[in-house]
Every structure is written in C-alpha cells, then in structure tokens.
C-alpha cells in the first residue's frame, strides 16, 4: 500500500489549510517577498526598470530551468545542463571568433549540438538503462573535459563581434531586452507543447505512469529522449546567450545554473499542482529565486548568504512538493 506520512493523522481543517499552503505557498511567498522588499527599499526595488532588470537577469536561468522541466516531467533528471551550457558558451564564441562563422549559423549549430547531447543522454538512460542521475552526471563531466580541450581553459575574449553581444544586450519590441523575449518564446512554446499538443499528453502520461503509458501504446523511450533533447536545446540557448552577455566564452561560466534550475523546477512543482512538474510552476519558481537574489543584492547581503538562500530554498521546495503529493494521495 501507499507510504504512510504524518499528513494522514491531521484533522480535515488542518489538512485543508496545509493543502492551500502546499499549492499556493510559493505564490504567497513570492508576493510576500515583493511586499517586504518594496517596503524596505521603496526607491530601488518596486520600479519598472528594476523589474525589467530582474527579469532580464532571470531569463537565462529560466530558459535552462524550462528545459530541465521537460526532463523531469518525463520522470528523469538531467544534471548535465549547467556543464552543457558552459560548453556551448565556449564553442559558440569559438565558432564565431576562430572559425568566422556567421552568428545565426553558429547559434543553429549550438542548438543542434544541444539536441545531440540530449539524444546521447536519452539513449544512455532508455536503451542502456543507466539511472539518469549517473548518466547525465557522466555526460556532463565529459562535456567539461571537451570544453577544456577546446579552449585549453583560457576564456575566449578578444575578437568577439559587437553583433554577437547584441544577441543578449540588445532590445526589441518596446525596448524589452532580448533575453526576456527569448525566455518568453521558450516558455510559451514549452507550455503549448506540454499542455496543448498530443505529444504533450504523451509526455505527461510517461511522467505520470510509464507502465500504463507503455501499455497504452505510447513509445515511452522516444518521449523520454525528447525530454532530454528539449533540455539539451534549452541549455544550448542559455549558454549562447550567456556568452553573448559576458562577451566571452568561459569554461565554467554556466555551471552554477544547475542548482538554480533544480531549485526552480522543484519550487514550481509545489506551485498550483500537487507536486507535479509543470512549465508555469517553473516560471514562478525561477522568479522567486531570482527576486530573492536581487533583494539580497540590493541590501548588500554578503555573497555567502546567496548560497545559503539557494540551498535552503531547494530543500524548502522539495519539501513543499512532497507535502503536496502526500496530501493529494491521502
């Protein structure tokens, strides 16, 4: 039978209250954070330009988290996204600076490479039946090695054309920074894919109950590989944009996105639905984390506190998600 959690012993009213907390706790937390920061720093925080700035900063983490969401929806973990993004950053600058490829071609090559890394991850997990934590950690470490091999560990700085930097620094439509537009396109696309397409239904089914999905005639392996491919492509986009923003290709520039993305995805699973991963949740999850960082920055909190904040929020997020699940089951 199902596992036994302490939630079963609670009175119905406590349970209802906890249920509200588990589903809406993250949104309440987000609003509370905005209120507190606005109150403490009425001139710097609650302004349109700060909001755009925060969103711009958040966009890269959001894109990688959106991709990671696709991997976790199909029931797997992808630990390679941070390392992959770093590699893409190095490669894309290299392709442009050393090989003089046109920028669109270089970006398309990166996206294709991201998809390929996803296929490799997916095949290792589905065909060789290696646990996804191990498989993607292994693949990610290989990518770190490739990245060093390509750049010898030296950041590619000189000769990066201005037009490449514009990819991340430019603005479009009403002066909205490009990364926000990319992020919106990625999230819109992924949301439509998961919630409104036939493949999306299969993705949800595979994540929810792989055995039932398989016997219903769904090609489970193919769907899982697709999850990794989307994750890999989002990592490629993030890595490329980060290189454009930094104006350089650096071997470990994007590594730390992994933890941010995981915290966001798990926070997201505890948002609105009972511990189920979904795109909209990831969007809200990333916002919480990035706004938290921004607030800590504005108040000049020391660097260590950002790590404490991120680690703590990951644990809170997973806790909330499993609370939601056990409430839904009992």
């Amino acid at each position: 039978m199902s596992d036994v959690s302490y939630t079963r012993r609670l009175s119905p009213s406590t349970r209802a209250a906890l249920g509200v907390f588990a589903r809406y706790g993250t949104i309440i937390g987000l609003l509370a954070m905005i209120l507190v920061f606005s109150f403490l720093s009425p001139h710097a925080f609650p302004t349109f330009s700060n909001f755009i700035n925060v969103l711009n900063q958040a966009s890269l983490a959001m894109i990688i988290a959106g991709g990671l969401t696709m991997a976790v929806i199909v029931g797997e973990l992808d630990l390679s996204v941070g390392y992959a993004a770093s590699l893409h950053g190095v490669l894309v600058t290299g392709l442009i600076v050393a090989n003089h490829l046109p920028i669109p071609v270089a970006v398309l090559i990166e996206l294709a490479l991201g998809a390929l890394i996803g296929v490799v991850n997916g095949v290792i997990v589905t065909k060789l039946k290696v646990n996804s934590v191990i498989a993607t950690l292994g693949v990610g470490t290989v990518l770190v090695g490739l990245s060093f091999a390509y750049s010898a560990g030296v950041p590619i700085v000189s000769g990066v054309p201005e037009s490449f930097l514009q990819l991340a620094l430019g603005r479009w439509l009403f002066g909205i920074p490009n990364p926000i537009i990319f992020m919106a396109l990625v999230f819109g696309g992924l949301w439509l894919l998961v919630e409104r397409t036939a493949i999306g239904q299969e993705i949800q089914a595979v994540g929810g109950n792989p055995a039932a999905a398989r016997l219903a005639g769904i090609n489970v392996d193919r769907i899982k590989i697709l999850g990794f491919v989307l994750s890999g492509m989002c990592a490629a986009l993030t890595g490329t944009l980060l290189a454009a923003r930094l104006g350089s290709g650096t071997t470990n520039a994007a590594d730390s996105y992994l933890l941010t993305a995981f915290a966001a995805v798990f926070l997201g699973s505890a948002t609105l639905r009972d511990g189920e991963f979904h795109i909209l949740g990831t969007l809200i999850g990333t916002l919480i984390i990035v706004l938290g960082f921004n607030g800590l920055n504005i108040f000049g909190a020391p660097t260590f506190s950002q790590f404490v904040f991120q680690g703590a929020i990951l644990i809170v997020a997973v806790g909330l998600a499993s609370l939601g699940r056990s409430l839904a089951e009992s």
């Binding site: 039978m1 016997l215 219903a216």
Partner: protein
C-alpha cells in the same frame, strides 16, 4: 425443527473490534455513511459489498491509514484512536492487502521479521538463530516450505501470502484482515489458505475476510457484514447466511441475469498464432481469433496465459513461432508497435499498468489515442473542448460513474476505473482487443455491465480475447474458450461443451495425464 442456535443463546461476547457509525468523505464523495462492523474474538467474519460500497475505506480506517470523520472504534470494549498503521498493529491487528508488501531481495525470514522487534545477542546484533528457533513453529503452522534463506522474489504469490500470515502470527495479532486473498491464487493454493484460516480461527485469532467471491465467503465465514453505499445494510449469520441473501443485500434490488444469446456467425480470421513459444511459461500456443467473436483464455494461475498475452502485445518477444494480423505478418517489438498494427490491451493491473490515477477521467480516456482530439488537421494542438466532449460521450455510453470529466480517475471505484481503461479503446477501435482479468476486484453489478460491453464490442466486429482466472466468468461471456495448462493450449471448448466444470477439468488435465508418465 431446530429451535434456537446455541450461538444466540450464549451471552453476547465482547467484540475484539467494533466500529460503530463510522462516516468518511473524500472531497465531495461520501465513502462511508455511518457504517458499523464488529468482529468477535476468533471468528472468521466476512465483509462483502459492491465496489464503492466502502469496504476499502473501512479497512483503511481500521489500519490507521486514514481517519474517520465521525464514529467510534473500540478494541475489546475500550474506545481507541488508530492514528497510524503502527498504532493499528500495536492494538493487535494485522493487515494483508491485495497488493502484497514485501522486499523482493530480502530472505523469507527477513521478510517475516520485517519491522518487528528482533531478538539480539549480547553484542546487540540480531540473533537470527534464536529468531529462527522461535519462528519455526509458526512456519510449520502456516506451511511455508521454501527455505528461510531463499529470496522472497523467487517465491510464488501464494507463498508470499504465507509470509504475510506468518508475520501476523509472529506479531501475535488477534485479528488478521485479508483483502481479496484468493484473487491471484490457484485452486489448490486457495484450499491451503482456507485450512490455515480455519486453524487461525480455532486458535482464537479472528479473521476479517474481504472478498467478492461469495462461495468462499459462504464456505469460510460464520458471520458476514454487507456494505452498500457506505452503510452496513445487513449482518448475516446462521440460517440467514445464504448466497441468495448475500446477493440481495449487496445489490439491494433484483439481480439481473445475463442471458446467453449468441450470434454464432463469426467472421474471418483476424489474428492467427502459430507455434508461439517463450520458455519457461509458454511452450506452444497456436490459435485463430475471428472477427466478432469473444475468445476466452482460461486455466490456472501460472498456466502461461498472461505470458502469452504479453507476447501478443509486444511486451515480450517470442523464442519461436509466428503471428499474422489481417493476413499480414505481425511481430510486434513493443506495445506501441502492437497498437499500430491494430491491437488494444486492457491490462491485468489496472491501477499500476492501466491508469494515471492522479490524472482526470478525460486524460485517461484519451491516452494513446490522441488523433481525434486534434483541433485541426494541420497544427499539432489538441482541443480540450473536443477531449471533454469525447470523454462525456464515453462516460455516457459506458455509464461510468464520475462527477465530471475532470475528476481524477483514482477517485473512482474499481469497476468504473476498469470502464475507463476499456473506454480508451472504444474510439480507436482496434482490430483485436485483449482483456486480462477484466472483472477482477469488480462488483457484481459492474461485472455484468463490463460483460455486456465486451459483447457489444465484439458485436461491432472487434475480435476480443478475454483472459480470466474465474471459471464462472468465461462460459457467460465467451463464444469459445481455450484452456491453457503448463504453457500449452490443452483444450478448446465451445457450444454446449463450454461449461464451468469443463474449464476446470481441462485446467487440471495435463497435470493428471502426466502422473503415470
């Protein structure tokens, strides 16, 4: 005339456990409405009722898995609160659930002692030798013959049942609750289980026996509580405890009888199977399945029926043999391939293999058949409105009892869940539909409806293969029945030969023939 039965003359004993006026609702659904149940020390007490009548909820409450909204539970006359499964076992109750819980890689002895306090040596290490000595009489009593150091995963379902019973006895349980214990046991294993239950009762351990199989209930139980719509509608005992009485109490109205009217004209061969083999369970299977017929596959548990179905469905690949579908070669490598070729499957374990319990009825109905939901032929998007409309139509056609198309399917009763799994194939109309134990754990009323539905599907030209462990089920439902034993199809029964006793006889046929050899 035998006047007053002695049982009634005796002073009323204090029940070991008494639940009175228990109510429980899940969301809007009222699972129990003031149900009562009392089990006397050492009696075998039956608990019956249609699916959704509240049996599982009542048991979950006794097991401490969920809390009642109102009502009282008393153990030996003292009111108690059962806050957790741990508390329930502390009160002397032991539960053997339908899905057995054991650790496959641990040994028989380790599984018996799982979670129980263990004797230790002076150094604080577990003293397995002493434990083995203590447990030996219990092992003998329940008849575990497997070596104690064998891995539990190497044991049959029946033997794992014995482990669970042994656990309960080691823990000195005063009441053992068994939920559908014979659902996956063969006839001889059932007989063994019954004698163990009688032995338990004689030694003062009460058994609460939950089952849909009324013959077993009548055979074993002294008293039977009948639940209907969350209420305890009858407690039958003595001369009042008859099959007719039970059925009337369960159904609460007249019982409808399925008439066996058959349109015997069957169509051309759709699926042809020749010499299919996958050792050790399937040695040789050849048969033809015709359009518009319902073909039954009977036999004992372990005869190789489910394994044969897995071969047809591409879940496993055969060592030898060939299949054709619609005259063309058919060698599915995956279930997805089998579905593309025109097969549909209603799997045996509907909760783990058939459904996404947390997802809506509409989601589950559309699983694996999404093309009709597309909003337009060019774009890949699905229309939620179309999905809801199709789901609504299926809910109506199959009279699925659901509050809406968006209700999570896990909240439905077993029979309605099964209709959802069948409903999935209603629109995609596969050439061949395989149903594995379609009415297992389903109440009498829903069973009749599912049977009618299967006949209808065949009537519309589908070729249907039904696998069932219940000999009662196949003669009612099928045009023709193949009986499997030890990996082979040993007999084909049709027409007037197709009876319950013929199926049972054929199931044992091979075993008997082998005796002199």
């Amino acid at each position: 005339m035998n006047p007053v039965p002695t049982l009634m003359a005796a002073p009323p004993a204090v029940p070991f456990v008494a639940a009175s006026a228990v109510s429980k609702s899940y969301g809007g659904a009222q699972a129990l409405r003031g149900a009562s149940l009392s089990v006397l020390p050492g009696e075998v007490h039956g608990l019956v009722g249609a699916n959704g009548a509240g049996k599982s909820t009542l048991i979950r409450i006794l097991a401490g898995l969920t809390q009642p909204d109102t009502g009282e539970i008393a153990i030996e006359g003292r009111p108690v609160a059962i806050a957790s499964p741990h508390a329930a076992s502390g009160l002397g109750m032991s539960f053997i659930h339908q899905e057995l819980a054991f650790v496959p890689d641990m040994t028989v002895l380790e599984n018996i002692m799982l979670g129980l306090p263990k004797k230790t040596t002076r150094l604080g290490l577990v003293d397995w030798a002493a434990i083995q000595r203590d447990v030996a009489p219990i092992i003998e009593r329940v008849g575990i013959t497997a070596p104690l150091d064998a891995a539990a995963k190497s044991l049959s379902t029946a033997e794992n049942w014995l482990i669970s019973i042994a656990r309960a006895l080691v823990w000195k349980a005063r009441l053992i609750v068994m939920d559908e214990p014979t659902a996956s046991l063969s006839a001889s294993e059932c007989r063994k289980l019954f004698s163990i239950i009688r032995g338990l009762s004689a030694s003062g351990v009460a058994v609460l026996y939950v089952s849909h199989r009324l013959d077993e209930i009548l055979d074993l139980c002294g008293r039977v509580t009948v639940l209907r719509d969350g209420r305890s509608v009858a407690v039958l005992d003595g001369p009042g405890l008859t099959r007719r009485g039970l059925v009337q109490a369960i159904v609460g109205g007249a019982v409808e009888h399925l008439s066996k009217s058959r349109d015997t004209a069957r169509g051309e061969v759709v699926l042809s199977v020749r010499g299919l083999r996958r050792l050790p369970r399937v040695t040789e299977a050849s048969f033809d399945l015709h359009r518009g017929e319902v073909l039954g596959l009977g036999g004992l548990v372990g005869a190789g029926r489910s394994e044969l179905a897995r071969l047809l469905y591409g879940a496993d690949r055969p060592d030898a043999g060939s299949m054709t579908i619609e005259g063309g070669p058919f060698a599915p490598r995956t279930p997805a391939g089998a579905v593309r070729a025109g097969l549909g499957l209603v799997p045996e374990e509907r909760r783990t293999e058939g459904l996404l319990l947390g997802k809506s009825v509409a989601f589950n109905l559309s699983l694996g058949n999404l093309t009709p939901l597309l909003a337009s032929p060019v774009l890949p998007f699905i229309s939620l409105r179309k999905r809801a409309r199709l789901a609504q139509a299926t809910i109506r056609d199959l009279s699925i009892k659901a509050s809406s198309t968006e209700q999570p399917v896990g909240r439905l009763s077993g029979g309605n869940q099964q209709k959802v799994v069948i409903g999935r194939w209603l629109r995609s109309k596969p050439e061949v539909l395989i149903l594995d134990e379609p009415t297992r754990g389903v109440d009498i009323g829903a069973r009749g409806e599912i049977h009618r539905l299967i006949r209808e599907l065949a009537g519309h030209g589908m070729a249907v293969l039904v696998i069932s462990s219940e000999p009662d089920e196949l003669p009612d439902l099928c045009d023709r029945v193949l009986v499997m034993a030890e990996g082979r199809i040993v007999r084909e029964l049709a027409g007037t030969d197709l009876t319950r006793s013929a199926i049972i006889e054929a199931s044992y046929a091979l075993t008997e023939e082998r005796v002199p050899a």
